[in-house]
């Protein structure tokens, strides 16, 4: 549970605000609810035919005033729905059985007879099923109402609440006569306005699509019809304008009065409710102004289109000629001319020109005879050093080798050791009975020779 609370702390709900600020009891309930939903793997998956089936059952119950259905009625209703939603479907009875099973699993349809599985059952729509159909019916009904009527009703309601607020004396008066009507009745009306907004959006989308289709099909002949449809847009615009210019000012004036009264009376609960209603009204106004601009732009665009394009090209030949020209793009096409100031380049400072002196160098004799230089003989040099060392009294090969290897680069040490041995060999005492092995470097051991200054044989 704590995990959910931590995750939810960063989430801001559009309706209830930040969950952090919620009543801890509410957070706990939400945790329980969500955990339960996850645990039970609750999901809803309704095909159009299933939704139609639920709606048909709702209307049937409404018409016959009988809230429950026997199995046979369910199958009959499904078959009727199938004729409309999926005509030509094979084996509708089997489909009906499957659909009933699906709805029962999703708790849209419940068995209410309490009998076992053997006897034929009695079914009814669940609260969830009824709510789904209610939602669609409510959308359908409310979108037909005038937005102006709804906003006027809201103002009347708010004025009534203000009158009650002026008479309120006790906390109970504020709660029952002001805060509760604001939360329930006013919120209900605002919900209605928001549904009407969605309806107007849908209506506009339909009008746009219809105008486009009619022009596509009938071109010049569709102009009158399009102008009628544009008139509908104009009436929508008028309705919106009325709200924007008149009603919103009234909303805010009444709400401001209410807020002052509640603040003076110290009814902070009511102040919160007023604040929430104010936010909702701001949302309505913001929606209104964006739609007003979008629809004005659309109205002007279509009016211009009719005037500049359709009326000037009633047989739609212009498009065809332009398309033909574009399709066979010529090798040397024409180009439109437009004004274009030459670009200003970032010009840098230029140094004055100066004559560079010619390049020359003194004449020299290039064919010079090479000097004769004695070749550097490494072996001779080593020989001299070996003989000098032995002459100076060096009597052991190992110390002679170590002494001469000091300034030799590592890669040549092994070769040099051999050469030292070769050069020192004439000075070695050949009468030694045994020559021990001595380490001269990490990797090499050599025989220890006794050297004398006198060259042998």
């Amino acid at each position: 549970m704590r995990v959910f609370a931590r995750q939810a702390s960063h989430h801001t709900d559009p309706v209830y605000g930040n969950w952090d600020s919620c009543d801890p009891r509410m957070t706990s309930d939400a945790n329980k609810l969500l955990t339960g939903l996850v645990h039970e793997q609750v999901s809803l998956e309704l095909r159009p035919v299933d939704l139609c089936f639920v709606a048909a059952l709702y209307l049937q119950a409404d018409r016959t005033s009988a809230p429950s259905f026997d199995s046979e009625t369910l199958v009959d209703v499904y078959e009727q729905v199938c004729d409309i939603a999926d005509p030509g479907a094979e084996n509708p009875r089997k489909r009906a059985t499957n659909a009933i099973e699906r709805l029962r699993k999703q708790r849209l349809l419940v068995r209410i007879d309490g009998s076992g599985v053997v006897s034929a059952g009695e079914f009814s729509l669940s609260k969830l099923g009824i709510a789904i159909v209610d939602f669609f019916l409510a959308e359908d009904m409310l979108t037909r109402e005038s937005l102006t009527v709804l906003t006027r009703s809201l103002i009347v309601q708010l004025v009534q609440v203000r009158t009650d607020a002026r008479k309120a004396n006790t906390d109970d008066d504020w709660r029952t006569r002001v805060a509760t009507p604001l939360r329930v009745a006013v919120s209900e009306l605002i919900g209605g306005i928001e549904r009407r907004q969605r309806g107007m959006d849908a209506q506009q989308a339909e009008i746009r699509q219809s105008i486009s289709q009619q022009l596509e099909q009938d071109w010049f002949l569709a102009v009158d019809r399009c102008e009628n449809l544009l008139e509908q847009t104009a009436s929508t615009l008028r309705e919106l304008n009325e709200i924007l210019l008149r009603d919103t000012q009234e909303f805010h004036a009444v709400l401001q009065d209410l807020q002052q009264l509640a603040t003076v009376a110290g009814a902070m609960d009511t102040v919160d409710a007023i604040q929430r209603v104010g936010d909702q009204i701001d949302r309505i106004v913001a929606w209104g102004s964006t739609r007003h601009k979008a629809w004005t732009d659309y109205y002007q665009y279509v009016a211009r289109y009719v005037r500049d394009v359709i009326r000037l090209d009633p047989d739609r030949a212009l498009s065809q000629r332009l398309r033909d020209y574009l399709a066979k793009w010529p090798d040397a096409p024409y180009g439109l001319l437009v004004l274009g100031e030459p670009s200003h380049l970032g010009v840098r400072e230029v140094d004055p020109r100066f004559e560079k002196p010619p390049v020359f160098q003194p004449l020299v004799e290039r064919d010079v005879e090479p000097d004769e230089v004695a070749a550097h003989d490494e072996l001779d040099a080593l020989r001299m050093r070996v003989e000098a060392a032995i002459g100076a009294g060096e009597s052991r090969l190992s110390s002679l080798t170590c002494g001469l290897l000091i300034d030799v680069e590592p890669a040549r040490k092994y070769l040099t050791m051999g050469r030292i041995a070769q050069l020192a060999a004439p000075f070695a005492d050949g009468a030694e009975p045994e020559r021990p092995w001595v380490v001269v470097s990490d990797l090499v051991e050599i025989e220890e020779w006794h050297l004398t200054s006198k060259r042998s044989g």
Binding site: R208, V302, S319, L322, W329, L336, L337
Partner: protein, 220 residues
């Protein structure tokens, strides 16, 4: 004429004049969607015609709702739109005429423009028009290059006021009607219309694709 703009001095000393004048001299077309600029030009049209005549320019106010300058003497620089800009401009003009663009009030997506173009001109023709210097064509690379060139052309047309770029979408504007001018007359031939436009300094015949494209590439 408005009371504020009685004389040429009123027009020139108006707050909007410097930026409108600079825009017109950059080749910008001004239409109703420019709101204040458009209404300023509408109010001062008579004065500005005489004013720009002194610069060797014709100040054109079209009945389909836009203004622009045409250089008649070359005192102010002029340039011809590149082949790429012309192809894209004509495709946009076709979309402007099409009722399909009405639903979104002249707002089209870049993909719509590309598919419209490739629907009229084949991809090889588009590649030839938009990348005339390319001799060997790798279709995959060329397709991306065509896409880039089309968008570059759209940006340049936007700078001239033929369209607006709105995020990933393109808003079609009334000045696109200039691309329709050569085919506007039902009576005369295309050549006659072009001759008239050329005589009015509103169009010119391209020397060759490569030359035009090179000239356009050099534009800043």
């Amino acid at each position: 004429m408005s009371v504020d703009l009685v004389t040429l001095e009123d027009v020139i000393s108006h707050d909007l004049f410097p930026e409108v004048d600079a825009a017109l001299r950059r080749g910008r077309h001004i239409d109703r969607s420019d709101d204040a600029w458009y209404y300023f030009l509408t109010e001062s049209q008579g004065h500005l015609e005489a004013f720009y005549r002194r610069y060797g320019c014709e100040f054109v106010g079209r009945s389909d709702g836009f203004f622009f300058l045409v250089s008649t003497t070359g005192l102010l620089g002029k340039r011809m739109l590149s082949a790429g800009e012309m192809v894209v401009g004509q495709a946009l003009a076709l979309l402007y005429l099409s009722p399909s663009s009405v639903q979104q009030a002249g707002l089209i997506s870049r993909e719509q423009l590309l598919s419209h173009l490739t629907g009229i001109l084949t991809l090889p023709t588009l590649i030839r028009v938009l990348t005339p210097q390319r001799r060997r064509v790798d279709e995959r690379v060329a397709e991306q290059e065509v896409r880039d060139k089309v968008m570059t052309a759209a940006r340049r047309l936007a700078a001239l006021g033929f369209v607006d770029l709105v995020g990933e979408q393109i808003r079609l504007r009334a000045p696109l009607a200039r691309f329709i001018d050569p085919v506007r007359s039902a009576m005369g031939t295309l050549e006659e219309s072009l001759t008239k436009l050329i005589a009015n300094n509103q169009a010119s015949m391209a020397a060759s694709d490569a030359e035009t494209e090179t000239a356009a590439e050099e534009e800043p």
